[in-house]
Amino acid sequence: MTAQAALLSAQGIGKTVKSGINDLVILQEIDLSVTSGEAVAIVGASGSGKSTLLAILAGLDTPTVGSVQLDNEDVFALDEDARAQLRGRAVGFVFQSFQLLPALSALENVMLPLELAGRPDARAAAAAMLERVGLGERLGHYPKHLSGGEQQRVALARAFVVQPKLLMADEPTGSLDAAAGEAVIKLMFELNAQAGTTLVMVTHDEQLAQRCGRIVRLAGGKIVP
């Protein structure tokens, strides 16, 4: 595995925040490389810094030190808008709290990234994607009328509809019961496999992590063996 072949790589990532008069170290000396098509789980206890790491890898948050290359771009050499464009081109997201827009129907939520990208076939593509996640009958439903599992499936459809190179998932089953969580994970891995997407998933669930090809463990802000 070389740095050139990696879709995502991080070198020397550190994150320190001010907490009162003290500096609080959240992440330190993180080196990570993820190649195309790989599925990596980042696991760790609550407060170990795994969500912050995911945010930095996706260019949502900035590190105090270190650099990240994503799809051959130096993420933090770009300004915020260029990072947003990079995300739009290469990254899909699934969040623990779904992050669907409450005023938009399921179909419109899935259409949104396509519309932002100016795709004229947004409606048809989004409808087809919802069909694939088993919500073909619920296109016009609003998030508040969908169960947690259904909302996360809409979020999956929204993430995959733009055919991202990399899917970032932050505790995707964190808000779901076991059965719904299982169904969502199964779907996520299926879609991932079909699209050949690279997956980086943050979870505290060991069992879930085992389904990924590689596990990166985080403790006290450091990668541990």
């Binding site: 945010a55 997201f93 709290s97 932002l116």
Partner: protein
């Protein structure tokens, strides 16, 4: 891109996210536009109404008959035209020993006279009068009350005027264009212009005033005036409203101030409502924007998407608002048509432009700053919800927006001082409200108060603790509530006080008879006469006739004054007076009232209007010629007079020692109640040299105009009231989402319904009381300021306001607490929490 913005607009609209904002805009634009439309038309209409004081829209006066070309031009422009001929002549009645005669002011009118307003006549003395179209028929004459009783004639009797004999047809009770300068006028005899030649009274050298009147489309009247002005010959002039009766002018000025003020208030309140509504919109869209940032939307893209969405919404709402404003003012105009009498001129397009501009500025000024926050939302908010947006750029945008709005409103109000007072006062009030609300809420939730009120009740304790936790957002909410509430209190409770005070300016019991020419030796007998008649003794003022001859030693010439009114004032004799104390209906506006005992220097107090007209300043030395004797006095004070008070007023007043040696007569004014007219006859019989002037018709006219103006102003109030209500509503729902989430969490952790509603009640009760008290103070302060500055009136203390104000605040927020608790308790906590 535009397509996406439109789709976002449709989606947000469907979700109900934009309705409050759109309503705020429609009401804002609607109220500004209708106030503007209405004010514009009523202003024009009232101006026209006031034109009846001239008898037409334009009055030309001359000492020679008007040339045919001058009147033909009026007709050529499609305007109505009328003429009158005015002169003084002896009118006689009866014959032999029973013959009576009196010098009468004769007015011979052409058929169309008067062009504005109506003459009123009664079939006999003291009978009810009615309006009539046109003037007397040829061969007949109408005599006013004074002339009818002096000549002892009844309708049907004959009066002789020169070589002509006319039949008395009616008692003339109201002549709309009769001026208030009754010192120089004789009782009226009105006749038809066709009979003038038969009298043989008009010869070369006769003192005659020829009036030429025009009325019609404003534009044409103005065009005619512009055409006629350079063609005026020596001895001819044009009279305009500014020169007409000051007491009516005062009412119109007040009305204009009030209309402008109300429009300002409505617009600013609407701005606050828009700011509150947009803030809520933005808070609800922060998460969505963070998600869009994750999906690759750049800051510019987010700004342009929401900017376009708001712009389209704004343009649509402005269009609806303009239409609503136009419809509303059409309704008012229709409703007021019978009251205003004068036909309202067509609205111009300016109010629509003003309304739309104000609407778009409100949107940009008050909605753009919160919208700018949306673009600054960090994408990491999707993972860490507490990540907010920076607020730096918003401050600049608010300042810019507010500045533009102020400029627009000043343009609309057309009165810089008034506008700045309102805007400055409003800004100060907002800052003060937020500060006071914050302090009071902190005090109410202090640990001492928690121990006292919350000792036995956990819900109350939680409610009070909430006050402290949210002290900043609560202070903002209370300030907004107080703002809306004070507008509502001002427009409901103190409105009637203001209106009453306004009516009192020309009260129904104002004097309706002036008695002039009382000789010094008649003073005591006159007082005895009134005492014997059991009538209330009127205040008697000395009056000296004097001509202004020099200012600061420089001789005064009419050539120095281009202004027509100034020219005439310089030519004429003034009514001067001397007294020790400042009359109650006068107010010193500059300098100080003289010390009557001091004889160091002769001092004079001058009415500020005439000082302005004649260009007189404080400390100028005036030289007058009174009874052939010159005297000088230095201006040591300027006075503001209540011209609509119908009381005796003087342009120039000195201490007694300065003028008491000059030839003096006395003047008084009193109220003659209907049915007590015989008192007048007895007084005239006892003091035959005095002249009684009946101003009851003029008084009725002044009161009628005030009533109409008040009606118009009250209606305009309603729009500001609507805007105030909207602010109130926006402020109430501003924190609804947050409270619902908190209540749902409380419920999820097992809080009972009573605990949830109890804690909300405690919190809202305190907020309501604070908002109510603040609003009451503000309403009281604003109304007092308004009364003093705009109306120059004293406002009595309104105890009701101090009771209803705080109670309204408490009642309103208690109702809100109940509604909000009901909403929270009826929804499942899970659903509320899931909605985020």
């Amino acid at each position: 891109m535009t397509g996406l913005a439109m789709r976002m607009l449709a989606r947000d609209w469907r979700a109900g996210e934009l309705r409050v904002l759109a309503l705020a805009l429609v009401i804002a634009v609607g109220s500004v536009t209708s106030v503007s439309f209405f004010a514009d038309r009523v202003r024009q209409g009232l101006g026209r109404e006031a034109h009846q004081l001239l008898g037409g829209d334009l009055l030309l006066l001359g000492d020679q008959p008007w040339k045919e070309a001058m009147s033909a031009e009026i007709a050529r422009r499609g305007l109505a035209v009328a003429q009158s001929t005015n002169f003084i002549s002896m009118a006689q009645s009866g014959s032999g020993d029973g013959a009576k005669s009196l010098l009468a002011g004769v007015k011979a009118v052409s058929g169309a006279y008067p062009l504005r307003g109506k003459l009123r006549v009664a079939p006999r003395l003291n009978a009810p009068d009615a309006a009539v179209a046109g003037g007397p028929q040829p061969g007949t004459a109408w005599l006013d009350e004074r002339l009818t009783s002096a000549l002892a004639v009844n309708p049907g009797d004959k009066v002789r005027l020169g070589n002509a004999e006319l039949t008395v047809a009616a008692v003339l009770t109201l002549e709309p264009d009769r001026g208030a300068n009754f010192f120089n006028i004789a009782p009226r005899l009105m006749m038809n212009a066709a009979d003038v030649a038969a009298t043989g009274l008009i010869q070369t050298g006769s003192r005659v005033t020829y009036q030429l009147l025009a009325a019609g489309e404003r534009k044409e009247v103005d065009a005619y005036e512009a055409w006629a002005r350079p063609r005026l010959e020596r001895g001819q002039r044009i009279e305009n409203l500014e020169n007409a009766r000051p007491e009516i002018r005062a009412s119109l000025d007040r009305a204009q101030s009030f209309l402008g003020l109300t429009a300002l208030l409505a617009a600013i309140l609407a701005g606050v409502a828009i700011a509150l509504a947009t803030r809520r919109f933005v808070e609800r869209h922060l998460d969505g924007c963070a998600v869009m940032r994750c999906m690759g939307a750049t800051q510019g893209k987010i700004l342009s998407l929401y900017g376009a969405e708001f712009l389209v919404l704004g343009v649509a709402a402005c269009a609806v608002g303009c239409a609503a404003g136009f419809a509303a003012q059409e309704l008012i105009a229709h409703w007021l048509a019978s009251i205003i009498q004068a036909e309202l001129p067509q609205p111009t397009v300016v109010p629509a432009v003003q309304g739309a501009l104000v609407g778009l500025t409100l949107l940009l000024g008050f909605a753009l700053p919160p919208l700018l926050q949306l673009k600054d939302v960090p994408a990491v908010r999707v993972i860490r919800r507490e990540s907010g947006a920076t607020k730096g750029s918003a401050v600049v945008a608010y300042v810019l927006g507010f500045g533009t709005l102020v400029a627009l409103l000043l343009w609309q109000a057309g009165d810089l001082k008034l506008g700045m007072t309102v805007v400055g006062g409003f800004s100060a009030a907002v800052v003060l409200f937020i500060g006071l609300a914050w302090g009071l809420l902190r005090a109410a939730s202090s640990s001492a108060s928690m121990r006292f009120f919350g000792a036995r009740n956990a819900a109350v304790r939680y409610g009070l603790a909430n006050l402290r936790r949210h002290s900043r957002s609560n202070a903002l909410q209370v300030a907004s509530l107080a703002l809306g509430l004070s507008a509502i209190l001002l427009l409901t409770i103190t409105r009637s006080d203001l209106i009453n005070a306004w009516r009192q300016a020309s009260p129904p019991d104002a004097s309706n008879r002036f008695v002039i020419g009382i000789q010094p030796e008649q003073l005591e007998p006159l007082k005895d006469f009134f005492r014997a008649e059991n009538a209330s003794l009127p205040e008697v003022y000395p009056m000296v006739r004097g001509r202004l001859t020099a200012v600061n030693g420089k001789a005064v010439s009419e050539k120095d004054h281009p202004d027509e009114r100034a020219k005439r004032l310089v030519e004429r004799e003034f009514n001067l007076s001397f007294m020790e104390a400042l009359p109650t209906h006068n107010e010193v506006s500059a300098g100080r009232w003289f010390d009557p005992k001091s004889r160091k220097e002769a001092e004079a107090s001058v009415e500020e209007g005439i000082a302005k007209t004649l260009g007189l300043k404080m400390w100028d030395v005036l030289t007058y010629s009174a009874g052939g004797e010159p005297f000088t006095a230095r201006i040591t004070s300027l006075r503001k007079l209540r011209w609509d008070s119908m009381k005796v007023n003087f342009f120039v007043v000195t201490p007694p020692w300065v003028l008491e040696k000059a030839p003096t007569s006395y003047i008084t004014a009193f109220r003659l109640e209907p049915g007590t007219e015989p008192l007048l006859d007895r007084m005239v019989a006892r003091f035959p040299n005095v002249t009684v002037v009946d101003v009851s018709a003029a008084l009725r006219q002044a009161q009628g105009i005030i009533d109409q103006v008040i009606l118009a102003v009250q209606f305009v109030f309603l729009f500001a009231l609507g805007a105030g209500l909207l602010v109130l509503y926006s402020a109430l729902v501003a924190t609804e989402d947050e409270r619902r989430r908190e209540a749902a969490i409380m419920r999820a952790f097992g809080a009972s319904a009573a605990q949830v509603s109890g804690s909300q009640r405690a919190e809202f009760l305190v907020m309501g009381a604070v908002a109510g008290v603040l609003a009451t103070c503000a309403a009281a302060a604003i109304s007092t300021l308004l009364a003093q500055r705009v109306f120059q009136l004293d406002l009595p203390m309104n105890f009701g306001l101090w009771i209803y104000g705080p109670l309204t605040g408490i009642a309103l927020l208690s109702l809100n607490a109940w509604l909000s608790a009901r909403k929270v308790l009826s929804a499942s906590p899970a659903l509320t929490l899931r909605e985020g």
